[in-house]
Symmetry: C2
Subunit: 393 residues, 2 copies
């Protein structure tokens, strides 16, 4: 393993490997080959260009194409993946008969190449296994998520200070991005899935809160340009508008999600009421979110509470609705599980879940909250603690 | 086609389709199915979730999953790709016997699903065809590249105004990112290839200019965190340092590349001389870069000039060197062609190429320039015009 790592990270990586190896055993696979950045970071503690080879028993190997000079036990330089079998043979590692590759992460061309590396070994999907492992954070990862959430929550109250009357949503968003970067965010917003894209987050003002986007986020927004049709639309912020600020934080390679609603002057009572319903729904789900809770039940609970409040029509969008109320977060913003209608998942201790009940109130805009929660033995603990009330500008 | 498009964009899209159809004819394919954002934007003028079906003859079809409400001729809603054959049959479009899919862009799982949509039709790669088409910009795209380059060039002289003595590379970079966003950049930095990542660009100060990164950019930098080991390292900017600022611009979904070298106080003569050699190499390549010029010859020319100046050892890196001196740019920063050692490509009118001869001078840092050029019948025309001299802070 890379010599630069701390003993604490080393111990944590060993725990991750043992969890993945247990999943490999259950699957009947002999090994997992990791080749994409999110999973390289998860399995090795850093991004490099190359491969992690994790056998079902024993120590993983780290085959590095770039950068030059990475050192450590079971770290070897490699020019191309076709060298891996010989390198493994040289150190006495048996070649796999069944190997898992990242089917949901590798391009088809990459998959074809890697699937030929181990001769006629059977190749099957490893992406789902990795997603399941990543969903349950290790102690080191929980520490990072908490530190990230805490720094994230500390930035939110500063957003109001960089607002100036007469700004557009885009002008204000740029100042908030600036704050987030000055506070140390790395900026990078990693998302699983080819079709998902966003810059650092979205700022949805007024009617733009209900604008449909191509992307599978909770709410969309029209965006500034058809090349990236999501988020702020360039509208000028005027009295009575709700402005929903959903900017992710990434200080250590892990993302927390936290959304707060601002208003330009006072909001209409209907919007204020809907906001309070969103807060109540979040509390309800957090209390019900004990280990073993079924994700689809939690979503149904949120839907039922929205309906009870007479707000089903504007819950999670208007013409286009998100069919979930929460999602895992971590190295990517959309980790498992999804708290949605057709989810077969259940909560487990160590999951980090963004709960984001949101309403789009015609005439006002998007209201609601989002926080990142850690699933503990006693239920969900908020790790982005800051006042959920509407912040009037 | 989408009703929101201007007549000018519509005409340009027709030109793109006809070029792709000519390439389909050459390939012997009956159709191309596009499903990833970069190519959806290229073929339809906007990002949506869904598919473009381009037959070798006739009009393309646009099958939209999201957002709701997109309208236009040959635009149809679709829930899943398996509906496409029936929708095509209903409008009298013959089903393909050979269809191209984006092998280098789709995940393996996506490819498997899409390859089953058309029964036993033969499936082959369409990514290479799309890359070749995207490499040669249409008139509309050339207009966008020029506007982007011009706005990009106008921002560079402002970078010095947000520098303050005592800053780290990261602190200064955040202020420059802020400037770029305030000027209207969308921020999003699209890169082809799974393994490439960066935020908005890199700022390389002093020795960090020579630090090896996992990514295949011209120069790397250690980065701030092992989760994204590229770019600024957090070093404090001190006298005698060269600071290379390479931040992309994206105002309309197309990226221009422009790098300028700054210095904290005066640079050592060796670094100043190397910078001038870089400028000279860029001029030499631009003059030799006529239509038909072979990309590997242009790279060899750059290498030869660096060697003549006695600077071969520090050309394009130190311990880890980039094996190219230029690359196409457009919707992604790494469009075709590559001006590198093993490139079989030749230049053609309408290509947009970033030329980036750079040196890493031990004790000073990275020096050199990068500009985006348009290949014209008379050679390469710079579209990011601003003073290439070292800017002393």
């Amino acid at each position: 393993m890379f010599t630069a790592h701390t003993p604490e990270l080393m111990d944590d990586l060993r725990l991750r490997w043992s969890r993945m190896q247990e999943a490999l055993r259950t699957d009947g696979a002999d090994a997992l080959l990791v080749a994409t950045n999110v999973n390289l970071f998860y399995t090795s503690g850093r991004v490099f260009m190359g491969f992690v080879y994790l056998p079902v028993e024993g120590t993983p190997w780290f085959f590095v194409r770039r950068p030059v000079g990475l050192q450590g036990d079971t770290v070897a330089d490699v020019r191309k993946p076709e060298q891996i079998p010989e390198l493994l043979r040289n150190v006495g590692v048996a070649l796999p008969r069944r190997i898992l590759l990242e089917s949901d992460d590798l391009t088809h061309s990459e998959w074809l190449r890697l699937s030929a590396v181990f001769g006629d070994a059977e190749c099957a999907d490893g992406s789902a296994l990795l997603r399941r492992c990543r969903a349950i954070k290790t102690p080191y990862e929980i520490g990072i998520m908490k530190k990230t959430g805490s720094r994230h929550a500390a930035i939110i109250p500063q957003y109001a200070a960089v607002y100036e009357p007469g700004m557009t949503d885009q002008e204000w968003s740029v100042e908030m991005f600036h704050l987030m970067l000055k506070a140390g965010s790395l900026g990078l917003f990693r998302i699983a899935g080819n079709s998902m894209e966003v810059f650092m987050g979205t700022v949805l003002a007024g009617d733009n809160g209900g604008a449909a986007s191509p992307y599978d986020f909770a709410l969309g927004g029209a965006g500034l340009h058809p090349s990236i049709p999501i988020g702020q639309s360039g509208v000028r912020l005027t009295d009575g508008m709700a402005v929903m600020v959903d900017i992710a934080a990434n200080f250590y390679g892990y993302l927390t999600d936290c959304t707060r609603t601002f208003s330009i002057g006072p909001l209409a009572p209907q919007a204020r009421d809907a906001h309070q319903v969103a807060i109540d729904i979040q509390h309800t789900i957090a209390a019900a979110g004990v280990p073993g809770a079924r994700c689809e039940d939690l979503y149904a609970l949120a839907l039922a509470r929205a309906a009870e409040a007479g707000l089903a029509d504007c819950f999670m969008g208007l013409s286009q609705k998100a069919r979930f109320v929460g999602h895992g977060t971590g190295i990517v913003i959309n980790e498992q599980p999804v708290l949605g209608a057709r989810s077969a998942d259940t909560l487990a201790v160590g999951m980090c879940i963004a709960l984001e009940p949101k309403f789009v109130v015609p005439g006002s805009g998007a209201v609601g909250v989002e926080d990142t929660f850690l699933v503990t033995p006693n239920g969900m603990q908020c790790i982005t603690p800051c006042d959920p009330a509407i912040i009037e500008l």
